[in-house]
């Protein structure tokens, strides 16, 4: 949405904003209930934020992209304030918290659990204020980009609500589809984050980077069953109140696995906390559901109420009383550091194709700093929108429907009935079992073989007949086509990187290696993702 707003501001007369779900209600932003990192506080500077981002990235950040994230991101946060997003205030400035990995309080927020939804809502309102130059169409699932003479000229898409096939002509196209969390059954984003953008870019001839780096959020909610809430909601309260992570025997354990003793603060980075919880469970000291306990029982009831606000009541509706009950948490797929390779104008290797947000690879290296995801979405959206407007002004070749024919043929195909929902679940199981935060050569080979078997079962054509409204079985097939390619890309890159760094931990190569302080580019060759 930021890209669309900026494109119009930079002179684009006609922007088409497509979303596979309802606009501004799917994806990751609306699920991001936490905080946004930006150097907007007194005495802070985007260079300090950059230093922390580069440190968290373990040597793999593209410094130019990371700098744009921090510098342009801060400008976007201020602009969002003018768009009335409602950042919480303290004194004359924004209220902020210090999240792990930051050298100071730098993470602004809106209120309790509403930061992401407020960002989405403010952007939606701003898009509407821009007016007719941005045409918004929801429920459009882009299945392929159209490439003519090596340039992207548009897209082919499924209109979910009617089942009709669509073609879209565009002199410039921006991928802003987010990450790949749907590859994992336990994930903290929306169900529509299937890695679409990565697959679209690969098929169009673009290069992906660092696909092995999937960030697992250490304290995703595990038990008891909690509904109507974000599974990563516990995190901001851990910052504020110093929630204690305990093993099945109610002992602190993070220090045992290389983390600092927390001493009532929340100072462990995400990759270390994920490692500590997983290892403690493997050692047979997990909580009953296979995670760790998170306890706020040492915090007085009044302080809990002050910090959690109305969330306390929502928890009570779920039967949870934090003065008495601990809850169980375990790592959950949260974000993907890798993505499409771009330059500082968000241009991919393919003319006419740009990328923004989480779909961009390289800015966050091997591990993303807490709070950088929304900042990145805003900053890279703004940059991509400006560049797209510039490219449109330059002119582009006319869309030729002949180039769209293979993609349209796929949408018209009628394949045999197959339980695509079960196949999606199987893919998620394969990835969780062997391509989670901890990998081995043996496990990755097992995953590669299982994905090959799955690919054969998925077949060449979507099941059933085209043209049916809201056909989830066929839609899952189209998603599987993309998810398989993206899952294979993660496995190829994770197999190649024989070291442990940030979010990619190889149990058979536990050390970080200076020789591996480089990015892993990946391209499609004859339909197969290969290291470039």
């Amino acid at each position: 949405m930021y890209a669309a707003i900026e494109a119009v501001r930079q002179g684009a007369a006609s922007v088409l904003l497509l979303d596979r779900s309802l606009i501004g209600r799917g994806g990751a932003t609306v699920m991001a209930q936490m905080t946004v990192a930006a150097a907007v506080g007194p005495g802070d500077d985007w260079r300090h934020h950059l230093a922390d981002t580069l440190t968290a990235g373990r040597g793999l950040c593209d410094p130019a992209l990371a700098a744009l994230l921090c510098e342009v991101g801060a400008e976007c946060i201020l602009e969002m304030d003018r768009w009335k997003v409602g950042w919480a205030r303290a004194g004359n400035g924004f209220a902020s918290v210090q999240a792990p990995g930051h050298d100071r309080a730098r993470c602004v927020y809106v209120d309790f659990l509403s930061t992401g939804p407020a960002v989405s809502k403010a952007l939606r309102a701003q898009v509407q204020r821009v007016g007719d130059a941005i045409r918004r169409v929801g429920e459009v699932l882009v299945t392929d980009l159209v490439v003519q003479d090596g340039r992207v000229t548009g897209a082919v898409a499924l209109h979910v609500a009617s089942g009709a096939a669509l073609t879209v002509a565009a002199p410039a196209t921006i991928i802003a589809t987010g990450g790949l969390t749907r590859l994992y059954a336990r994930n903290s984003a929306s169900a529509n984050m299937s890695g679409d953008g990565y697959a679209l870019a690969l098929r169009a001839g673009a290069t992906l980077l660092d696909m092995e780096f999937v960030q697992f959020f250490p304290i995703g909610h595990l038990a008891p069953r909690l509904i109507g809430m974000d599974p990563i909601m516990w995190d901001p309260f851990r910052y504020k109140l110093g929630g204690r992570l305990l093993n099945g025997a109610m002992q602190e354990f993070v220090g045992r696995w290389g983390g600092d003793a927390e001493n009532g603060t929340y100072s462990t980075t995400r990759d270390l906390a994920t490692y500590a919880i997983t290892k403690e469970v493997e050692a047979g000291r997990g909580s009953p559901s296979g995670g760790a306990w998170l306890s706020f029982t040492h915090v007085p009831a009044a302080e809990l109420r002050a910090a959690f606000g109305p969330v306390i009541d929502r928890l009570a509706a779920n039967g949870i009383d934090l003065t008495r009950d601990c809850i169980e948490v375990s790592p959950i797929a949260h974000y993907h550091m890798g993505g499409v390779r771009v330059d500082t104008a968000m241009r991919t290797d393919v003319p006419g194709l740009l990328c923004a947000g989480e779909a961009v690879g390289g800015a966050n290296g091997a591990n993303r700093l807490s709070g950088n995801a929304i900042t990145e979405a805003l900053a890279f959206g703004r940059l991509a929108g400006a560049e797209a407007a510039r490219q449109v002004a330059e002119g582009a070749p006319a869309f030729d429907v002949a180039a769209a024919r293979p993609a349209l043929a796929l949408l018209a195909a009628e394949g045999p009935a197959v339980n695509t929902a079960a196949l999606v679940a199987r893919l998620q199981h394969i990835m969780a079992a062997d391509v989670g935060p901890f990998r081995t050569a043996e496990g990755l080979a097992r995953a590669a073989a299982a994905l090959a078997t799955l690919r054969a079962e998925v077949g060449e054509d979507p099941p059933g007949t085209p043209g049916l409204a809201h056909d989830l079985a066929r839609q899952d097939w189209l998603d599987l086509r993309q998810m398989l390619l993206v899952a294979e890309s993660v496995v190829v890159a994770a197999t190649a990187r024989t070291e442990s760094r940030g979010a990619h931990q190889r149990e058979d190569f536990p050390e970080m290696s200076a020789a591996w302080e480089r990015n892993l580019p990946l391209r499609l060759r004859a339909g197969v993702p290969e290291l470039a």
């Binding site: 209600r25 609500a161 169900a191 509904i227 109507g228 809430m229 339980n419 809201h470 989830l472």
Partner: protein, 109 residues
Amino acid sequence: MPTTTLHIRRGGPGEAPRHDVFELAFEPGESVLDALRRLRVTDDPTLAFRYACLNANACKECMMLLDGKVVYACTARLEARDMRLDPLPNKTLLRDLATVIAPPDERLD
């Protein structure tokens, strides 16, 4: 584990409405959305309903009728009894439990 019996309205516009009956065991605390997603995997991948977020009540897409009352499927809990699910009555039916809820100016037509 307790068992629920879901009576789910099936079919698209112009088709004779019918309710398919599914029995399934559930873990106490699970939502109606949990059950619908599981049924697609175990029984019928063509079962149509709307959702984008996962039980976070963030996308607000999963509105439907439970025993005649409008609920979010992600916050309505399963119970060990007969439960009837129907699409929103005041919206255009797409299929099964899915209706047209996009704002008019964000539709293709």
